[in-house]
Subunit: 344 residues, 2 copies
């Protein structure tokens, strides 16, 4: 089958790889209907040293079950399914607590002999635990919205949930990428009253307003912090959802959070030390979040998509064929595209 | 009156200072019955550069009201009272949320014309908000226990509460100082099942066992982490209460916390950056805590002292007269004493 391989920074290729096959009795093989490119795919796209052992790319997809192993009981050939961006057994102690990213048997797509997701098909370990059946057909117009359950919607929601966003809350969302916009949707779902979106790309922040942002702050750093404080009677917001992962963004988070408030970060941190010393200790700031256990939220969020209350699929602004995927990486990296769907 | 002044590292003196007087109508003047030396007093005791403008020391006390301003309504001359380690109006938005340390009108003892607490008497701003009446006489044998409501018991409890310790929980307490021991008491009050105390002073860890620690780990660093993991099936504890404030202690906290767990720190951090990068992001660790709003917890904790369910006053292992206070600083700094009571 055809699949996406990264050989070096800026060297994405679509090549023939081995067809996926059932290897373990808990596996399924799924034909991919939609996949997409993630902001986090851009980190290796920008930095991977040249290698003869290319990286298998992609971790978000939905598709149709083609074959199941002998121990798969909840799925059958023809089922339309979505998968979270890591696989997990959904039965271990961590999974039962909703922390599927720490699953004792789980792992990442694209490594250790598990295919990436930007390809024609894929082997899914722990299929019963990993895959969630979608009650739609594979030509449903809701597929792009449902595809966001694979990562960005659940990641934005993880930020809002771990921050403890509640009805009437004040929230700052830092970052107008797909995850930031999903965090706006999530804060609104949880009843936030004031949602300040910090971002400087107007087409994205306009979409953020459609999703529920009450204010947009385009300024960054000290000016951005001053603006958020102006909008909140000098205090800052009770919750801050940090959806970038750069040190500037976390510093900005401490600047806009109210005393006693919570910063949740879901942007994968590109730094090792958090500037969190005595001053913010005196203010009783909490820092939470982490990689999102998407699997824990899929069933909870899906009904909001099915009843059309939310339309997270609007973050996709370009659809490409698998063979064109290199254009998609380039467009996202140049910020010419917000998020790109791939149709194998 | 006589009061404690710090002129330089290792230069504590008891000298005559101006008698406290009502300055604002919300003030009270309180005669101090018991005060004590805090672990945090040792930071300036170890490091203060020589000054002609000595620091007024002390922030923990209980005493008897001598005089009240015209706007003090809930207290009268003769009332036995305890005060938290910062003063606060108890009416502003932050106080109403239980975050008295961020009170819009609050402040610290010993600065801006407010007396320290290691003296014979003191002016108390916002007396109605700050002071809590104690239902005992000034010769009660419970006074040492009740004095811990001023800081250490509430600080340990803040660690346990912000960490979210619940019934059946597993908890590591880092530090066998007075606050660490108070954190053990607090974790037990909240129903923790496993309480691992990390500390290497056996008289203190023995007291910790009396207070409810189920295990003691004397090792530090990697060895200490390995020991805690051994005691928890390899996983670490769900909650970690960091009661030291040094970088080693926070690093140790990340080492012993279970995936998805929470570290609460109440040891005033003596460093600016927290080592909290991608690895712990993948584990969904939360870092919370901060300076304790003691005022928020006094009414809640007092009944447990009055009914003798807890005896936090056992952390006091030396009683000195005010004129002997320099000996108390020396003994605590040399770890010859755990916590010293001062009787003016």
């Amino acid at each position: 089958m055809r699949a996406t391989l990264l050989y070096a920074a800026d060297d994405v290729r679509v090549e023939n790889v081995a067809d996926p096959k059932i290897q373990d009795p808990s596996d399924a093989v799924v034909r991919i209907v939609l996949s997409c490119i993630c902001g986090s795919d851009l980190w290796p796209y920008k930095s991977l040293p040249r290698t003869d052992n290319p990286r298998h790319m992609g971790h978000e997809f939905l598709g149709v079950v083609e074959e199941t192993g002998s121990e798969v009981h909840t799925l059958k050939r023809g089922d339309v399914v979505v998968a979270p961006f890591v696989y997990s057994d959904n039965t271990c102690a961590y999974c039962r607590e909703g922390l599927h990213t720490s699953c004792l048997h789980g792992g990442q797509w694209g490594v250790n002999g598990v295919d990436g997701r930007q390809g024609e098909a894929t082997r899914v370990p722990y299929a019963d635990g990993t895959l969630v059946k979608l009650p739609v057909s594979e030509d449903s117009e809701l597929l792009p919205d449902l595809l966001t359950l694979s990562d960005i919607l659940c990641t934005g929601y993880h930020a809002a949930r771990t921050a403890g966003v509640t009805r009437g809350d004040s929230v700052t969302v830092i970052g107008d990428g797909a995850v930031g916009l999903a965090a706006v949707i999530s804060a609104k779902l949880l009843g936030a009253e004031q949602i300040i979106l910090m971002g400087r790309h107007q087409t994205r922040t306009d979409l953020g307003r459609d999703f529920g942002a009450t204010d947009v702050v385009a300024e960054r750093g000290e000016n951005g912090i001053a603006k958020v404080r102006e909008l909140t009677g000098g205090e800052g917001t009770r919750k801050v959802l940090e959806c970038v992962g750069l040190k500037d963004a976390i510093e900005q988070s401490f600047g806009v959070v109210r005393d006693g408030g919570t910063i949740s970060r879901v942007g994968a941190p590109q730094f090792t030390d958090v500037p969190f010393g005595f001053g913010d200790f005196l203010r009783n700031i909490t820092l939470t979040g982490g990689v999102a256990p998407a699997r824990a939220y899929i069933e909870e969020l899906m009904p909001h998509i099915l009843n059309r209350e939310i339309q997270p699929g609007r973050v996709f602004d370009r659809v490409l064929a698998l063979e064109e995927i290199a254009d998609g990486y380039r467009a996202m990296n140049d910020r010419a595209a917000l998020k790109v769907i791939i149709r194998p």
